[in-house]
């Protein structure tokens, strides 16, 4: 469904992502794990159009999307939940969700999507008139995921959804991600919490200083000695 082909991304002269190739098949969760600054977020931002790869190609559903604007890429069916949640703080929960469906014109279908999201996240229905900035971190993460789902994306990009959340909230978010997977969603998950990420994903890629150093079936990566030592603290 999505493939990154030997992409490079530079910040000025510095290469943040070097020769990275990733394949994502329909209906699976692919995770990108690694330490802070390994290039995971940059890679994800390239998929959503916030960075243009300096070399290489990104192909989504057989079509090259590298060099497109974030607006165009969203219109093609890719939605991102950015790092740090980034809800619109001075807009209500409802308005945030409406913004997620900005490009949709089918009112009845959009209404249905909204009902599904409220079903997933009942707290968003209860607080739909509240300003998003006044929600707790976990609730903001739910809103950010809900907002991304409002566009009914074919591909969902999640950037560090567990970051800064209480352990009980992390479990809640993990449950939601596996529910989305069960419903057939395709997800790219960037996580520092490797234990969580490898539990949720089918395939995993390990990044170090801008390069993929290891990749494979998530289950196997979990038992890989190197991964255990470096990322799982075993």
């Amino acid at each position: 469904m999505l493939s990154l082909k030997d992409i490079w991304i530079h910040y000025g002269m510095v290469a943040a992502v070097k020769d990275v190739s990733i394949d994502v098949a329909e209906g699976e969760i692919v995770t990108l794990i690694g330490a802070n600054g390994a290039g995971k977020t940059t890679t994800l931002r390239a998929i959503s159009g916030l960075h243009a790869p300096t070399r290489g190609d990104i192909v989504f559903r057989g079509k090259s999307i590298s060099g497109m604007t974030p607006e165009q890429i969203n219109a093609l069916g890719i939605a991102m939940v950015p790092e740090g949640r980034r809800v619109f703080p001075y807009m209500t929960v409802m308005e945030n969700l409406e913004m997620g469906a900005y490009l949709r014109t089918d009112r009845t279908q959009t209404r249905k999507t909204l009902e599904e999201i409220f079903h997933h996240f009942p707290v968003l229905r209860e607080r739909n008139r509240q300003l998003a900035g006044t929600l707790s971190g976990g609730q903001q993460q739910m809103l950010a995921i809900g907002r991304a789902l409002m566009s009914e994306p074919d591909l969902l990009l999640l950037d560090e959804p567990s970051l800064g959340l209480a352990p009980i909230m992390i479990q809640e978010i993990a449950k939601i991600i596996s529910q989305l997977h069960a419903l057939g969603r395709t997800i790219v998950l960037v996580e520092q919490n490797a234990r969580l990420a490898l539990r949720l994903a089918q395939h995993g890629y390990v990044m170090e200083t801008g390069q993929i150093v290891l990749h494979g079936v998530a289950e196997e990566l979990r038992h890989n000695e190197q991964v255990q030592k470096t990322y799982l603290g075993a």
Binding site: L50, E71, A75, M99, Y102
Partner: protein, 289 residues
């Protein structure tokens, strides 16, 4: 101060506050979406007054029609400024400042060359007479500004809070990158913000044309006040701009009545300085997380 003077001064304050509000809201809105300040905003105000001068005083159109013409004409100037100046300099605050300050001078000279400098253009008052309220005389021409300001601010509020494009504009002001991730075309939104910004400055200038000296340099005093209002209100806050506009309208008018206009400017700036010491983010400003 007797009761008639008091009522006169209060009504003048409300009129001044209304004009400040229309002008400042446009400036705040453009700043909110683009994070760049338009230093030619005062010249948009001046352009609005000249639209009325040309269509009403020279061509003899009805006054309301001339005022309505100012909205699309100056709105289009806003859009042109966005395309030709703010888009190429986006993210470079200094370049945007230099370019719009330059634009301010270009517009002044252009208007001066076309319609003359020195002699002020006289725009006859279309609505003669005055309302007599407890001995105070308040000209209809001035009074007209109050309902117009209410209507314009009400429309803007409705647009920002109940229309999808208006909500998208707020989203862009709060987090442009995330707004783009929702498919909101940022370049359309900056254009829209500048159209509204130009239109509101033009409307204010158009309304003021019969009661304010119409000269190529009339934007000078206005831009200073507009910036004080916007900073006092809290840079990106529309509601803050309205509140600050009314406060400053009262301060300027009352101090001018008991002293003079220069002292009024000083008191206004001092008031801003004191507010900023207590609340650095402005009256209704938001603290960035």
């Amino acid at each position: 101060m007797d009761i008639a003077t008091l009522i006169q001064t209060i009504s003048n304050s409300i009129v001044a506050g209304s004009v400040y509000a229309i002008i400042a809201v446009g400036l705040a809105m453009a700043f909110g979406v683009m994070k760049m300040a338009n230093f030619a905003h005062g010249e948009f105000f001046m352009a609005g007054a000249y639209v009325v001068y040309v269509f009403y005083a020279l061509f003899g159109w009805p006054f309301p029609a001339a005022v309505l013409m100012a909205i699309p004409i100056v709105g289009a100037m806003g859009v042109a400024t966005e395309r030709l100046i703010f888009l190429p300099t986006r993210g470079n605050v200094l370049a945007g400042f230099m370019a719009t300050a330059g634009l301010a001078f270009i517009l002044q000279v252009l208007v001066g060359q076309t319609w003359g400098v020195g002699l002020m253009r006289s725009v006859p008052t279309p609505y003669m007479g005055a309302a007599d309220i407890l001995g105070a005389n308040i000209g209809w021409q001035r009074l007209l500004i109050i309902p117009t300001a209410f209507a314009m601010l009400g429309l803007l509020w409705f647009f920002l809070y109940h229309v999808k494009a208006g909500k998208a504009l707020r989203a862009c002001a709060q987090d442009p990158e995330t707004a783009r991730l929702q498919g909101i075309k940022i370049n359309r939104m900056t254009m829209l913000a500048m159209a509204i910004s130009g239109a509101s400055a033009g409307l204010a200038g158009a309304l003021m044309a019969p009661i304010h000296p119409v000269t190529p340099y009339m934007g000078h005093g206005v831009i200073l006040t507009a910036f004080i209002v916007v900073i006092l209100g809290g840079m990106e806050s529309i509601a803050g701009a309205v509140l600050a506009a009314v406060l400053l309208g009262f301060i300027h008018t009352f101090v001018t009545t008991v002293s003079d206009a220069i002292v009024a400017q000083m008191v206004g700036v001092a008031f801003m300085a004191i507010v900023l010491v207590v609340r650095p983010q402005g009256l209704l400003g938001r603290v960035k997380a």
